[in-house]
């Protein structure tokens, strides 16, 4: 839906620019490497892309003269990304980070064409000898949001602005629902699929639609702060920062957040390229390893609820508690996890079903 002409054009134009920039490049000495980053949104979207960008800058500052950062923002997912990546590889990048799920196949295709360039794809599941994947266990943070949402809602109706029906988003919905339901059996989820990662007007409309239909807590899996602004205008609605802290909306409506912490990973992986030890990896870290941060739980939350949420955070970090612990059933009523059983990573990574109690179907 968001594949507008504008984005295609921006992509094409920047690709041209990169091609021009690449002309003089190949003869450079190898003591300085180029590190490429591709973002799905603008790099100051206030959320997902901005956080990747800031982590990239932190990584570049860490290495100083040894690293040259090349970035490209607002690259549409799909075939057009392949051109942008090809241009980046041609311009001499040693390692390229592609920071959105929809870049998975384009990254894989370009990785095959450039065996000497390393690729790192965020949030996907396909790898190659020169393509690693990395992701964060956001569902751990969703568990805490679900708990807070279940405690804070008065209408027992929680809104969820989902982006695309991919495992990562579905995992988040399930995790939030399980923990909201646990503390509030009356709770219901209303889910809107926005089919965009970033479209402030549409995200705002979605938030308004949910609020009009009685939701007083809204979770979002889209990248802009527009739903926060809509909730603030409506008054008694709680939200959570997504990907970035979004602290400018605290203490109300934003009562907590999931923060992505990418910088240490970027520093480590670029370091591995510099000393020649880079190998394709499959990294999936959560709160414990520091890749997922939980933003300050604001003063709008009662102290006992806050303490309980923080305990859950610490238990997840230490490994004492797993957000997907049985007994759990799938939406169709079939058994998924037995009492005390913990979901394995394979199932989680490819999750395409709702857990029992969520209404509606996942778009196919």
């Amino acid at each position: 839906m968001n594949l507008t002409k504008r984005k295609l054009l921006t992509g094409a134009a920047t690709a041209l620019g990169l091609a021009a920039a690449g002309l003089g490049a190949p003869a450079l000495a190898q003591d300085k490497i180029k590190v490429g980053f591709v973002y799905v949104g603008p790099k100051n979207d206030g959320g997902w892309s901005q956080h990747h960008h800031e982590a990239a800058v932190e990584m570049a500052n860490h290495y100083g003269d040894k690293v040259e950062l090349i970035e490209q923002e607002s690259v549409p997912e799909g075939a057009d990304a392949e051109r942008a990546l090809t241009q980046m590889a041609l311009s001499g990048a040693s390692i390229i980070f592609t920071t959105s799920f929809g870049y998975m196949d384009p990254t894989l295709n370009v990785a095959k064409k450039f065996p000497n360039v390393k690729f790192e794809h965020a949030a996907g599941y396909k790898t190659a000898p020169n393509m690693g994947v990395y992701s964060a266990r956001f569902y751990e943070g969703r568990a805490i949001q679900g708990y807070l949402a279940g405690k804070m809602t008065k209408s027992n109706t929680i809104g969820y602005i989902a982006s695309y029906p991919i495992p990562e988003v579905i995992r988040g919905i399930n995790s939030a629902y399980i923990h909201a339901k646990k503390v509030n059996p009356e709770v219901k989820f209303k889910i809107i699929w926005a089919y965009t990662w970033f479209d402030p007007a549409k995200e705002a409309d979605a938030a308004k639609a949910l609020i009009e239909q009685g939701c007083d807590v809204i979770l979002q899996h889209t990248d802009s702060t527009a739903p926060q602004a809509a909730a603030q205008k409506a008054g008694n609605v709680y939200t959570f920062g997504q990907a970035a802290d979004m602290a400018e909306f605290a203490p109300m409506p934003r009562i907590s957040s999931i923060i992505d912490v990418w910088a240490p990973y970027y520093v480590a992986r670029v370091g591995a390229v510099l000393d020649g030890s880079w190998e394709s990896d499959n990294t999936w870290d959560g709160i414990g390893a520091g890749m997922v941060g939980i933003g300050e739980i604001s003063s709008a939350v009662p102290a006992d609820v806050k303490a309980e949420a923080e305990k859950m955070r610490d238990d997840i970090a230490s490994g004492a508690y797993h957000p997907f612990t049985g007994p759990l059933k799938k939406q169709d009523g079939s058994d998924w996890l037995a009492d005390g059983e913990v979901a394995d990573d394979g199932t989680l990574a490819g999750m395409t079903f709702y857990v029992e109690g969520i209404e509606g179907d996942i778009p196919q």
Binding site: K5, L9, T10, K190, A194, A201, T225, A226
Partner: protein
Amino acid sequence: MDFSAINPAILLASLIVAATPILIAATGELVVERAGVLNLGVEGMMIVGAICGFAVTIETGSPALGFLAAALGGALLSLLFAFLTQFALANQVASGLALTLFGMGLSALMGQNYVGPKPAPTPELHIPLLSDIPFLGRVVFSHDLMVYLGLALVAAVWATLKFTRLGLILRAVGENHDAAHALGYKVVRVRVAAIMFGGACAGLGGAYISLVRVQQWVDGITAGQGWIALALVVFASWKPGRVLLGAWLFGGVDVLQLNLQAAGLAIPPQYLSMSPYLITIVVLVIMSADRSRAPGALGRIFHASG
């Protein structure tokens, strides 16, 4: 499924809000195209208007000044297009696309210090008595001034094109610029004025997004709405009334589909998501099956020697 949760009054009210940005921008572009100029830079002018309006509202605290600045900003940017196409005789399609790219970059640059703050709210009019009518009061009489200005704009453009001498000249220039020139009309002057009008409207539409609909600044905030406005003009066969219908259809179906999803309608959301585009196009294409056609000189370069 629980449709009782959808309040038709609020739904219709949000429809009108959602339609306003594309309505204003498309009306401006309609005037430009009726003057024979194809400006593909609507998206760029919208987003520059969005940041101009936002920045001025933040600095002065006055949304009215903000909207004024948005119109000025859009018009100023469109002057660049006017210079390229009317004086340097550059290709209109290429210049328009360049204007969009330029506008996107410029707005990102201008907006660097404006990510975060909240603009002063644009007050919703509360008309005594009228706003208190059940249903109708909420749907029709409880909006901010820009909604009514948008409607007035459509009516004014329609009346001007149809009934006034000014409208006649504009249409003459758009249908056959050589003939208009031979009659002594200043083709370039008329077109530059039309382009600036279009720029001002696009700016207003953009500012409506940043000041009313989203109420904050983020890069790329218009997210393609300028292109929708542009398409709307064509599908509406260059007629103001149909632009209004198209904008309401588009905004309406979009808001409706989000509400239907929230209410748990069992139609797959992919279809709901594409429905605004599909329904708007189908309705307008069916309507344009009559003798409507594009202005004769649309997109053609005029030079007095020709």
